[in-house]
């Protein structure tokens, strides 16, 4: 039984650590991956180097959509590699477990750090080839069990690998980002805010627009926006970096939430151009869902057909086909149809006005517009719009109170505490140092206006 101890330990460690520390990282690999039983997919794969490991990796990554499968597949892969290497090394009369364990731990690291499953599947296939080659050598007599020292060395190697996977800053950052993106795709805004805290956003600026999107969905932009490390308009709308994959992911979901489904489709489609296969499961799922929302069932059906060629989207496709069959009996929702217009502008305000002009005006669009004006330092325009959105008796969010005081306005509804703090801010402006202003006013609109604006 002792000879099964090392592989059992390895499987257990890889499974548990991946489940605890990398579940969402592997889910992101599924989002960015693709496997379709189509000639087009296979022709594409065979036009790249190492097609077999690529296809195997793509096939396996489909299962990463379900939380327990990814850790199980990773654990099975490294354990299989260990067994193959141990078998091969035994033919070379190397009887220790620690050497194959060292290589298996290395493979685990490779899988943990890789962006796609392909390096891992290639390494396992390589181990299988070595094992097959080793069969040419004569088999050793008996099946020796590892000694206590050997097992201790294996345990030490596993502990080291587990620590790296759990604690490496780059892997932590990837997991938090992947988890946040997962929550965004689910529309779980509380979870987004729990993950993308101001401190976490300070460490990873790609989280900022996702956190602000969650604030928008919770109706808290005006209350909490400047508690996040926002230093420029682009942190809010990503318009200057709208060709980066992270920005396109954000913009797709942003316009989906605002009801601009055509713009969401445009951004998801642009996102596909940055992905390995020219598209991905995430993009295909979003295109299907957004075309359905637009009432364009012809194109939604096209993406149903494509997704039905993958292994694990049967239920997903049936769900949309059922919705479409039910939806054909009713008139499409007019604003959703109108939002089929393209938004050609790179100016976020222009895009928001266009959405409003086709009947998609909503509290979220109003808040986004007000916040964009704050970020641009357009206090006059902010005040004018504020007066049309907020009426006497409405509670005024904190940052709006700060901006109104800065603009020289003092409508009813500004709290005495904010007014008092503004008086102190004005006094500190005259006599305080930059450090003092930062210490006292970081997290207010005043500090943003003072420190980051070019106005």
């Amino acid at each position: 039984m002792k000879r099964f101890l090392s592989p059992a330990l390895l499987f257990l460690a890889a499974f548990l650590v991946t489940l605890l520390a990398q579940k969402y990282t592997f889910f992101a690999q599924e989002q960015e991956g693709l496997f379709l039983l189509t000639p087009d997919y296979f022709a594409g794969r065979f036009s790249y180097p190492l097609p077999i490991s690529g296809i195997l990796g793509d096939f396996l990554s489909q299962f990463f959509r379900f939380s327990v499968y990814a850790p199980a597949i990773v654990a099975a892969g490294v354990t299989l590699a260990f067994l193959l290497l141990r078998g091969a090394l035994r033919r070379l009369r190397l009887r220790w477990d620690r050497l194959p364990m060292l290589l298996a731990a290395g493979l685990w690291m490779l899988i943990a750090f890789a962006r796609t499953p392909q390096p891992g599947t290639f390494a396992v296939l390589l181990c299988a080839a070595l094992w097959l080659l080793s069969r040419l050598l004569p088999a050793p007599a008996g099946r020796p069990a590892p000694g206590a020292a050997d097992l201790a060395a294996c345990a030490l190697l596993l502990a080291a690998a587990a620590l790296v996977v759990c604690l490496h800053p780059a892997l932590r950052r990837r997991e938090v980002l992947a988890h946040t993106r997962y929550a965004v795709a689910l529309g779980d805004w509380d979870r987004v805010l729990a993950l993308a805290t101001p401190a976490q956003c300070d460490r990873d600026e790609t989280l900022i627009p996702l956190a602000l999107l969650a604030l928008q969905e919770k109706g808290q932009l005006g209350e909490r926006m400047f508690t996040y490390p926002v230093i420029q308009e682009d942190d809010f709308d990503r318009c200057d970096r709208d060709n980066e994959p992270e920005s396109l992911f954000f913009l797709g979901f942003l316009y989906e939430r605002l009801g601009g489904y055509n713009e969401a489709i445009h951004n998801f489609y642009q996102l596909s151009s940055s992905q390995d296969h020219g598209t991905s499961f995430l993009v295909l799922r979003q295109l299907l869902s957004d075309y359905y929302q637009l009432g364009n069932y012809t194109l939604a059906e096209k993406y149903c057909q494509i997704l039905s060629r993958s292994t694990l989207h049967g239920q997903y496709v049936r769900h949309f086909r059922r919705l479409m069959a039910e939806g054909e009996a009713r008139e499409p929702d007019p604003p959703a149809v109108r939002s089929g217009m393209p938004l050609a502008s790179h100016n976020p305000l222009e895009n928001l006005f266009q959405l409003g002009s086709v009947g998609l005006y909503s509290p979220a669009i109003a808040e986004r517009t007000l916040c964009t004006l704050l970020l641009q330092g357009e206090l006059g325009a902010f005040h004018a719009l504020f007066e049309t959105v907020y009426h006497d008796g409405d509670a005024i969010p904190r940052h709006y109170q700060e901006a109104l005081l800065l603009a020289g306005q003092a409508p009813a509804g500004i709290s005495p505490a904010v007014r008092q703090r503004f008086d102190a801010f004005q006094a500190d402006m005259l006599s305080g140092t930059a450090e003092l202003l930062r210490d006292r006013y970081l997290g207010t609109y005043w500090y943003y206006y003072l420190a980051h604006s070019q106005f």
């Binding site: 379709l36 189509t38 000639p39 087009d40 594409g44 489609y269 596909s272 296969h277 020219g278 598209t279 194109l299 096209k302 057909q305 494509i306 060629r309 393209p342």
Partner: protein, 123 residues
């Protein structure tokens, strides 16, 4: 002469409003080639060497992926109704997630990989 017109800028294949236009080189008269055009981008094109056929790219199926269309030209300024380039498996036009952007008619063997295609056209 056939050319692509769009509202502004370059790369008309990215412009939804891009359409094909026909110019009579003797008179300079220009007309939209309405027989060929659709609501989506209609763009890159190529004439056959005898001037009887035009091959062009259009995004009319889904607005995203370019597919190839063929139309016959009667020499009098009129095109026939265009048809989608036939595929061995028609679902190819749905399942293929890449575009055919720059179609060209060629004379002779288009290459070892395209032998099957050329066999169909030789018939």
């Amino acid at each position: 002469m056939l050319f692509t017109g769009s509202a502004y800028g370059t790369f008309p294949i990215w412009h939804r409003e891009a359409d094909l236009y026909l110019m009579d080189l003797e008179t300079g008269a220009v007309r939209a080639a309405d027989e060929l055009n659709s609501d989506e981008a209609d763009s890159y094109h190529s004439w056959s060497s005898n001037g009887c056929w035009v091959l062009y790219s259009s995004r009319r199926i889904d607005g995203r992926h370019t597919r190839l269309y063929l139309a016959r030209f009667d020499g009098e300024g009129h095109f026939s109704k265009p048809f989608l380039l036939p595929q061995k498996d028609p679902s190819h036009n749905v399942l293929r997630l890449k575009s055919y952007n720059v179609p060209e008619f060629v004379q002779g063997d288009p290459g070892r990989l395209s032998k099957e295609v050329s066999k169909h056209f030789a018939r």
